[in-house]
């Protein structure tokens, strides 16, 4: 199990730096399928460079969640970052989510804690379950009031933490998050 806080910095950024071998100009944690340059001597050694598809997919999901959570907090989309980590319906999902936040006039603050399960390679795609803990997240409406907890189709609050299964597909040699599926009946 891998756990990280989603705000820039900390474990996630360290992992991203280790994966890309450099800081980059816009903090883009991205995993390349092709070998990248060697990590600089100052890069933390705690996060080994992913080698297998499962490891690369997990690193990309971590990167995606960092990007997504940044977008939620900033209520804006940086397509340069999003393109490197998402595709398909998830590319659209995050835009819709951010668009709704922006249109509502509300805010998302704080940090999600993501704990990734073991990747499951299904050949054409890889599945990874993220145990998402939103305890540290505050979501407010236009008036600054806290909004109710997320609800399921039955109108009842969904569990926290909540397991969310992500599908990653390989496009042009890079693993990208393509869809999500909330496992509302399961627990972390």
């Amino acid at each position: 199990m891998r756990k990280h806080h989603s705000a820039l910095g900390g474990v996630a950024l360290a992992l991203a730096l280790a994966l890309t071998g450099c800081g980059g100009d816009d903090n883009e944690p991205t995993v390349q399928e092709t070998p990248s340059q060697s990590p600089s001597p100052t890069t933390p050694a705690a996060s080994p460079t992913p080698k297998t598809d499962e490891e690369k997919a997990a690193a990309q999901l971590t990167a995606y969640l960092d990007v997504r959570d940044d977008f939620y907090r900033q209520a804006t989309i940086d397509f340069k970052r999003l393109n490197k980590v998402a595709t398909g319906s998830e590319f659209l999902n995050v835009q819709q989510h951010v668009s709704a936040i922006e249109r509502s006039g509300g805010k998302v603050t704080g940090e999600y804690v993501h704990t990734l399960g073991e990747p499951r390679d299904r050949g054409a795609y890889i599945l990874i379950i993220d145990c998402e803990d939103r305890s540290g997240v505050e979501r407010t409406n236009k008036a600054g009031q806290l909004v109710p907890e997320p609800t399921g189709p039955d109108g009842k609050p969904v569990p926290n933490p909540l397991p969310i299964e992500y599908t990653l597909v390989k496009e042009k040699g890079r693993w990208l998050v393509s869809e999500q599926n909330g496992l509302l009946e399961e627990s972390c």
Partner: protein, 301 residues
């Protein structure tokens, strides 16, 4: 995988944004995705079944599917209330942005509004709203296709069958039963074409029955791909060359001593317009028709 993208129903919730568009088969049943209320900022999870029934299978047309393309790939034509705009190469959200930025050069506030867009995967531009001119209708052509279908006033077929229904009519076990479409008409069997339009968008739809499932009431369902052949006395005890059946048991153990026969027409509607095309499929079923079946030895006693 691509077929699933197109077939996936896009749940259009009023006031909500939604994007359950699976690209790869997830394990287990159903797909649950987050939606955010653009008014309250509340998060809800919406689930849809993995299997689904794109054809609807009922008396009313289902949503069907429509086809939009971008960069050579099929994509859903509507998304979370937004409609795909070939002109802007994005899903335009109908609600104008607020506050409105200044109109583009040469335009005034009266000429249109700025709208947010949901960009397709691969988009590398900036997150800027698009200008939609006044009168430029943001309507899903699939919705117009549904209106065109509604204007067709489609009806179930009139059942043609021998032995005929009626209190003094009895067919015999083992003898041929002929089924056909009686009084075939465009609105009961097709083809029938109709159009619907709104603003500059016009859609033309052509509907026809692709097959009829005859439920004979004895547990047998016979699928006939044509309208069947009307029976004439000169055919005697011949089997129907196109659509027939033989009962193996009397109907005296059935309610009202009769088998309840229904015919379900499977309609296929091809439509195009508004830069899109698609197919909508649905079924229309007749009221049950009682057919009594006896045995010769019983009838002669």
């Amino acid at each position: 995988m691509l077929a699933r993208v197109v077939a996936a129903a896009i749940v259009a919730l009023v006031g909500l944004v939604v994007a359950p568009v699976p690209l790869a088969a997830a394990e287990g049943d159903g797909q649950c995705t987050q939606v955010v209320d653009p008014i309250t900022n509340e998060v809800k999870w919406v689930c849809e079944n993995g299997g689904g029934d794109p054809g609807g299978g009922g008396q009313n047309p289902g949503g069907g599917s429509s086809t939009c393309t971008y960069a050579g790939s099929e994509i859903p034509c509507s998304l979370g209330g937004g409609q795909w705009s070939s002109k802007n190469a994005c899903y335009v959200i109908p609600t104008p942005v607020s506050p409105q930025p200044a109109p583009p050069p040469g335009q005034t506030d009266q000429d249109g509004d700025w709208h947010n867009c949901i960009q397709p995967a691969g988009y590398l531009g900036s997150n800027q709203p698009v200008w939609v001119e006044a009168g430029e209708t943001l309507i899903d052509p699939a919705v117009l296709a549904q209106r065109a279908i509604a204007s067709m006033n489609l009806d179930p077929i009139t059942i043609g069958i021998v032995p005929e229904p009626g209190p003094d009519r009895v067919g015999l076990v083992g003898l041929p039963v002929w089924m056909w479409v009686e009084d075939q008409a465009p609105n009961t069997y097709g083809p029938i074409t109709a159009s619907a339009s709104q603003g500059p968008v016009s859609v033309t739809a052509t509907a026809k029955v692709s097959s009829i499932v005859w439920d004979m009431g004895d547990g047998t369902k016979k699928t006939c791909t044509g309208p069947g052949t009307p029976y004439e006395d000169r055919y005697g005890k011949q089997d129907s060359p196109t659509c027939g059946h033989r009962y193996e048991q009397m109907s005296d153990d059935q309610p009202d001593d009769a088998y309840q026969v229904t015919a379900t027409s499977h309609w296929v509607v091809e439509w195009s317009g508004g830069g899109q095309s698609g197919t909508i499929e649905f079924d229309i079923t007749t009221e049950p028709l009682p057919i009594r079946i006896g045995e010769a030895q019983v009838l002669t006693q």
